[in-house]
């Protein structure tokens, strides 16, 4: 018989695999004997495999459900009734089982070869396992490994030293700028200061613009953004000690320069009344009178 031929799996396979292979093989024997019992003389290997798979699934499902029922009632080991309920639930009439077990033509199958149950690999032990506190009975499960509940910080303290921050900001900005300009220089046209090595100190080639004053006069978006930010924080700044110059003359000059830009609010309501010849609508030409 097949099972006798195949004593054990490959020597190289792991114990866990061996264990499972042995059980599977037993299932195949079961399927084969059932087929024989039913009168088949031979079966394709693939068919046997499929049937084995089906029976394995069935048994697994019975086990899983039985376990579920047992856990549902706060137990950890399934009882007979769990199995019965499960089988019933799966549409199997349990009452027919004793009769089937006692049928005459059944074949006796040898027990699967003994293999070592697979060893559960040791979990990494992190720290000391906690023992139960006194109010928890000792039969209760042990605490899981500490790594599952102990928090282990993985970040470092941010550097808050002013000097280092400035240093970093400065070099970061410089790196970005350098990388950006180098990139632009590499991807576009360049001008060079040296004849021997045109790649040293590349200058992005100038490009004449049709309306050069626009880019030269209008603030860039970046600057506008800065302006908005500083404007919103301006009220706070106003109280800064630095902002109160001791020199009255200085104060005057500053205020003179700072004044402006603010349109008097009173005037806004008058906007509509402004009579300025440049705002008047353009007249339609008069129709020439016939002479």
């Amino acid at each position: 018989m097949r099972e006798s031929r195949s004593g054990c799996g490959k020597a190289t396979s792991s114990p866990a695999e061996n264990y499972q292979l042995a059980r599977r093989r037993t299932l195949q024997v079961v399927v084969s004997s059932l087929l024989t019992e039913c009168g088949f003389e031979s079966a394709e290997k693939a068919t046997v495999e499929s049937l084995t798979e089906m029976i394995q699934s069935y048994i697994s499902e019975v086990g899983r459900c039985a376990k579920a029922y047992c856990e549902h009632t706060a137990r950890i080991t399934p009882t007979l009734s769990d199995a019965v309920v499960t089988l019933n639930e799966m549409g199997f009439n349990v009452d027919t089982l004793p009769g089937y077990a006692k049928r005459s033509q059944r074949m006796v199958i040898t027990a699967p070869p003994v293999t070592n149950a697979p060893v559960i690999p040791k979990a990494l032990i992190a720290g000391q396992k906690r023992t139960h506190p006194s109010h928890i009975p000792s039969h209760f499960p042990e605490f899981p490994d500490p790594h599952t509940y102990i928090k282990t910080p993985t970040f470092r303290e941010p550097v808050s030293d002013y000097q280092v921050v400035r240093e970093k900001a400065a070099s970061q900005r410089r790196d970005v700028e350098r990388a950006l300009t180098r990139f632009m220089a590499k991807t576009g046209e360049t001008q060079s200061l040296f004849k021997d090595d045109v790649t040293a100190f590349p200058l992005i080639a100038e490009r004449p613009s049709s309306i050069p004053y626009l880019s030269a006069l209008l603030p860039s978006e970046l600057e506008l953004q800065t302006l908005e930010e500083t404007d919103s924080s301006e009220q706070d700044d106003q109280t800064d000690s630095e902002n109160t110059p001791d020199d009255p003359g200085a104060d005057k000059e500053n205020s003179v320069l700072l004044a402006g830009g603010v349109v008097p609010s009173v005037k806004v309501s008058e906007e509509n009344m402004i009579d300025n010849p440049y705002l008047r609508p353009v007249k339609k030409p008069k129709v020439r009178r016939k002479k």
């Binding site: 002013y162 000097q163 400035r166 900001a169 070099s171 700028e177 350098r178 950006l180 001008q191 200061l193 040296f194 004849k195 021997d196 090595d197 040293a200 100190f201 200058l203 992005i204 490009r207 004449p208 049709s210 309306i211 050069p212 004053y213 626009l214 880019s215 030269a216 006069l217 209008l218 603030p219 860039s220 600057e223 800065t226 302006l227 930010e229 500083t230 404007d231 700044d237 630095e242 110059p245 020199d247 003359g249 005057k252 000059e253 500053n254 003179v256 320069l257 004044a259 402006g260 830009g261 349109v263 009579d275 300025n276 010849p277 440049y278 705002l279 008047r280 353009v282 339609k284 008069k286």
Partner: protein
């Protein structure tokens, strides 16, 4: 292709019976027809300034050119009754002349690609003209209106105006006077702007600008309208938010309303000058606009606005009688502008400015030999030239060197200040008020010649007002500073006579060297003694050099007592530095700058130090800083450092102290102790407390600190160590400033600061140690220079991605690169600069790049670059750039007359000669620039590189003879012009110098002048006293100009008229055909028009009036309507003022 066509109608009231010729000014206009009272009138067009010297002369000497040029300008001088365009009044009307009837002169003309007078800016991008921001504006140096329409281009011929401009519907035409209405043309694709200027105004004060402007009505003064190019409106809003205060200020001090009923500011690109003022409008450079983030530009822009407004009162509203009276207008406008400076920016700024202007002017006069404010000319002969030291004539504004004219303005306002010192400001302002109220009364009068002349100021009338108002005689002052050129140069020294307790002051003068004159009169001397400050007025007399001044204090050392200063303040001083025997702390000569002088005064170093520390006048502080450069001692160092730290001290003094300290530190190199000068000071003021090598993040809240922070690194970079290198410490310090610069939290832009840090790097450069002729390569780059170059390339590259305001950083980088080249660190090569100098870059960048090319040209003696520059002078679209190139070449010349140079060759002489002789006739300023350059390169006489002509001397004599002896020759020319008379089809080409052969051949300007005198001198308009004698007492008086400019095909409106657009580039025949069709259509209108006109005449006889109409206009009704509203009658004087 810009083409402007239009017509002008002048109404002339003859004041003589035999008026048979009318002379007008016109340049580069193509004149199609002239009609006088509906009769076709023959005309001659001759512009002797097109080509100054006609002979293919081998003379090439500047003396010859200058006199020829002066004669040419004189020949068409409107103040002398001359003009380029001479119209013969049809004989049918001569009788009419007897009855002194009005003559209406109608001139139809066009401008084809004008080279001067009007400037078209058309950006080369996609889109319609409006989307492209295309615009046009009028410009010129002094009276240049003749470039864009025929007129009497004089500041002294006033008339009222009616102006019409038809432009594309997307454009706005801004011009002088009140916009009455805007009307669409019949096809609705164009608009006509109707302006009326009821205040009598000289043609030279008329201007125009057309563009797709954004319009901003001033929120404070609704009569004031601002115009800027598309997208700049936010900047305009901010920049103009201050204007009303300037208005208020002037109206208050002058106790006079702004004279026009409206005011317009227009900001244009490629402006000729930053500020130009015309009647009721000013044209500014668009580069004056700035956002709220910009610090440095803010005061500059406000100053420009204030100048423009001051000129509205004096210059536009009040005009001048003659060129010799120009100084009064420039003086008054400059003076009241100074008052504005004083009020707005403070007394310190004002005094600093006065000192700066005085120094500048004195330096120029000493170098060039005198600026004459009020020239009087005798017979117009060379002998009577009041300024023989100059290589140009000052007889006309158009022959003046630009620099001279600037110094002239400078001197004018300084002299006004002297007059104020003499008669008090109160009287001064009363005089101005009187001038303005007289003019104001006159302006609302109907035409009466004697009334309108009140709107013209002359030296004589101004001085008379002064003596009437103040009762003081300022004759000597005027004689000294106005009628006479040159400045005074004093040398002072002193000794203290202990026995007599007397200060023996010696004041000597140098009045023999060029640009100096002798001063006799009072001079103020201020002596600061231990017991206080005392003013003494000494009398400078012919032969007295020594003056004894009694001292008030004994030379005692009362340690405890405080020392009273001039301003009443009492201060503690450490007197240990003093001379124990003397009570003198410091002495100042002419502290109020009430003489136009240069003072070199000798006093001990400790006195200068006391003066710097304790004298409160910024001028004294600046003088002592200058003097301390010569005393490199620890005590000077301490005094300067103390000033630097004192934040009550005026920031410009502190800036000056920075540079002085750097110089002193260099002189004290071997004994200097401690860190490099200013380093610890800078650290203390601007760096973080916790980490002194890192600068604080920028806030720029205190502007004084900001300016100091900008200046200190630049000054520090001038420090040198024993090897004459910039100390490593300092360089690293500056590099760190750049590295740690952080502007993220700042509401102001740091572009000027960063630019100055680059300047600091530039300053730190020293010549490379090199083996001669070694090729500069990357490998042998010095380590420090490599760091500097890194920064410069990075900054320059970043500018491409995030451009800074006015590209300040690019400008600094270009200068730095040139400096690296010059010092031999990198290969000297102009190609980078040449690319940045091309049209299409921001103007500041171009100028910086051109400056580098000019420098390269000199250092490398490169004829290729010189040619390239001269090409640009001839071809660049921007007039300012052309002017700038020539003036930079003059300042940093490739060679001079004193030295031999391979560049100096015959071809160059020819080229420059051609440039000034004929190549620059469209721009007075540029021609004078070319003359200046020619003078710098070759001198007054024959350039040395020319081959010696045989009998050169004889030729010179001959030439001189020719100058003095004008020959009358152009009979043939006269014939030609007589023939032209009969039909409008006759056309005299006026464009281009190549066609001059076809024109009336004037052998020389003298000839043409003589010709005009001889044949046409029948009419002489009134000339100012002391000018040309009037040979024939004939006069015409110009009453009104009717100007219609029809912008049929300006670049601004090129989308308009396809038919017109398709004209060939040389449009003479075809465009003429077009014009004639339009004019025939037009003449139909015209008749009607004249009907109307006659009608008008009946109604308003003797009143000046003007009207205009467009070619296509069918709006005669409107014309008449406008007319009845227009002149003189019922003008509402509404002044744009807050008080409204």
């Amino acid at each position: 292709i810009p083409v402007v066509s239009g017509f002008v109608e002048l109404t002339i009231f003859p004041t003589v019976v035999n008026l048979n010729r009318i002379k007008l000014n016109s340049k580069q206009c193509r004149i199609y027809r002239v009609r006088v009272n509906d009769l076709e009138a023959p005309f001659i067009y001759n512009d002797p300034t097109l080509e100054v010297c006609h002979h293919e002369s081998k003379q090439r000497n500047l003396n010859y050119f200058s006199s020829a040029y002066t004669a040419a300008v004189s020949a068409v001088d409107p103040d002398a009754g001359h003009g380029e365009l001479v119209i013969k009044v049809p004989s049918e009307l001569w009788k009419q002349g007897d009855e002194m009837n009005v003559l209406k002169v109608y001139i139809e003309f066009s401008l084809d690609q004008p080279k001067g007078g009007l400037h078209f800016v058309v950006p080369d991008v996609e889109g319609s003209m409006a989307e492209r921001g295309a615009h046009v504006f009028s410009f010129g140096y002094q009276n240049s209106t003749r470039f864009w329409f025929p007129c009497v281009d004089s500041y002294s011929e006033l008339c009222t105006w009616k102006l019409e401009f038809t432009v594309d519907a997307s454009m706005v035409a801004v011009s002088c006077g009140d916009l009455v209405e805007t009307v669409y043309t019949h096809d609705m694709r164009k608009k006509t702007f109707h302006y009326v200027l009821p205040i009598p105004t000289a043609a030279s004060n008329i201007s125009l600008s057309v563009g797709p402007f954004e319009i901003l009505v001033d929120p404070y003064m609704h009569e004031v309208t601002h115009f800027c190019l598309p997208q700049l409106l936010p900047l305009l809003k901010h920049s103009m938010s201050y204007l009303h205060e300037i208005f208020e200020f002037y109206e208050e001090i002058l106790t006079c309303r702004y004279p026009y009923s409206c005011f317009k500011t227009v900001f244009v690109d490629e402006a000729y000058v930053q500020v130009s003022s015309y009647a009721s409008m000013s044209i500014f450079s668009t580069n004056l606009l700035h956002s709220a983030m910009i610090i440095d530009q803010t005061p500059l822009t406000r100053q420009c606005l204030a100048q423009a407004l001051a000129q509205q009162f004096f210059g536009c509203f009040i005009s001048r009688m003659s060129w010799a009276d120009e100084w009064v207008l420039k003086g008054i406008s400059g003076y009241i502008y100074g008052l504005y400076l004083k009020k707005t920016f403070g007394v310190n700024q004002y005094r600093h400015w006065i000192k700066e202007e005085l120094d500048k002017m004195v330096e120029y006069e000493l170098k060039m030999g005198g600026v004459l404010l009020h020239p009087t000319f005798g017979g117009g002969k060379d002998k009577d030239n009041p300024t023989p030291h100059l290589h140009f004539s000052i007889k006309h504004p158009h022959t003046l060197s630009w620099k001279y004219y600037k110094m002239f303005q400078c001197k004018a306002h300084l002299v006004m200040r002297l007059i104020e010192n003499r008669i008090s400001m109160e009287f001064m302002l009363q005089v101005f008020n009187k001038l303005l109220s007289l003019a104001s009364t006159a302006s609302s009068q109907k035409y009466q010649s004697h009334m309108w002349s009140q709107m013209l100021v002359s030296t004589h009338s101004f001085l008379k007002s002064i003596s009437n108002v103040s009762g003081k005689d300022i004759g000597p002052l005027i004689k000294q500073w106005v009628d006479q050129s040159a400045v005074v140069k004093f040398f002072g020294s002193f000794a203290f006579n202990r026995k007599r307790n007397v200060l023996e002051l010696e004041i000597r003068q140098d009045y023999t060297s060029s640009g100096t004159q002798k001063y006799v009169g009072p001079i103020k001397v201020t002596v600061q003694e231990l017991d206080g400050s005392f003013n003494h007025t000494l009398q400078i007399e012919e032969n007295s050099l020594k003056h004894d001044i009694p001292c008030h204090s004994k030379s005692r050392r009362n340690k405890k007592k405080k020392i009273p200063l001039m301003n009443g303040e009492e201060v503690d001083m450490d007197l240990s530095a003093m001379d124990a025997d003397s009570p003198l702390l410091w002495i100042r000569i002419d502290p109020d700058m009430s003489i136009l002088r240069k003072v070199e005064f000798e006093q001990a170093d400790f006195m200068w130090q006391y003066q710097l520390r304790y004298e409160r006048d910024v001028v004294a502080q600046e003088e002592s800083i200058l003097a301390l450069e010569k005393f490199p001692t620890p005590a000077s160092r301490l005094a300067l450092t103390d000033i630097l730290e004192q934040d009550q001290c005026f920031y410009k003094v502190r800036q000056g102290a920075c540079f002085c300290l750097a110089k002193i530190a260099n002189s004290m190199m071997s004994t200097w102790t401690g860190p490099p000068a200013m380093k610890s000071l800078f650290t203390r003021m601007f760096c973080c407390k916790s980490c002194p090598n890192i600068v604080k993040t920028n806030t720029f809240i205190s502007f004084q600190s900001y300016f100091l922070q900008k200046t200190m690194p630049v000054a520090m970079a001038q420090l040198r160590d024993i090897q004459n290198l910039c100390p490593k410490d300092v360089l690293n310090f500056i590099l760190d400033l750049i590295k740690y610069n952080d502007n993220r939290k700042n509401k102001f832009s740091d572009n000027y600061y960063r630019a100055e840090l680059i300047d600091a790097l530039t300053n730190s450069l020293t010549p490379a140690i090199s083996i001669s002729n070694e090729v500069r390569t990357v490998d042998n780059l010095n380590g420090d220079v490599r760091l500097i170059l890194e920064e410069i390339t990075r900054s320059l590259n970043m500018e491409k991605l995030l451009p800074s305001y006015r590209n300040t950083i690019t400008v600094s980088c270009l200068r730095a690169i040139r400096m690296l080249q010059k010092n031999g660190h990198i290969p000297s090569d102009p190609s980078l600069f040449k690319s940045y100098a091309e049209y299409g870059h921001f103007v500041d960048v171009r100028v910086a790049a051109l400056e580098a090319v000019v420098d390269y040209t000199r250092v490398d003696r490169s004829s290729v670059e010189l040619q390239w520059l001269l090409n640009m002078v001839q071809n660049d679209p921007a007039h300012y750039i052309r002017h700038k190139i020539l003036s930079m070449l003059g300042k940093n010349p490739p060679f001079t007359k004193a030295a031999e140079s391979p560049l100096c060759n015959e071809a160059l002489v020819d080229q420059l000669w051609k440039l000034m002789n004929s190549g620059t006739s469209h721009d007075w300023r540029l021609r004078c620039d070319a003359v200046n350059l020619y003078y710098t390169l070759f001198g007054l006489t024959r350039p040395s590189c020319l081959p010696l002509p045989e009998l050169g001397l004889v030729l010179n004599l001959k030439e001189k003879k020719a100058v003095l002896n004008p020959t009358i020759k152009p009979e043939q020319g006269l014939d030609t012009t007589e023939m032209t008379g009969n039909t409008m089809g006759v056309h005299i080409p006026v464009m281009g110098f190549t066609s001059s052969e076809d024109e009336i051949d004037m052998e020389s300007p003298h000839d043409s002048q003589a010709f005009i005198h001889h044949h046409l001198n029948i009419l002489e308009r009134p000339s100012t006293p002391g000018q040309h004698p009037v040979k024939h007492p004939a006069r015409i008086i110009l009453l009104s100009d009717n100007l219609v400019l029809f912008f049929s095909r300006t670049r601004c409106t090129s989308t308009v008229d396809q038919a017109v657009l398709s004209l060939p580039v040389t449009p003479l025949p075809s465009s003429f055909g077009k014009e004639s069709t339009s004019s025939s259509k037009h003449s139909g209108d015209h008749h009607h028009h004249h009907h109307h006109h006659e009608h008008k005449k009946k109604k308003k006889k003797k009143h000046k009036h003007k009207h205009k109409h467009k070619h296509e206009s069918k709006d005669k009704e409107r014309d008449s309507h406008a007319f009845s509203n227009s002149p003189a009658s019922g003008r509402s004087v509404r002044s744009p003022s807050m008080s409204d």
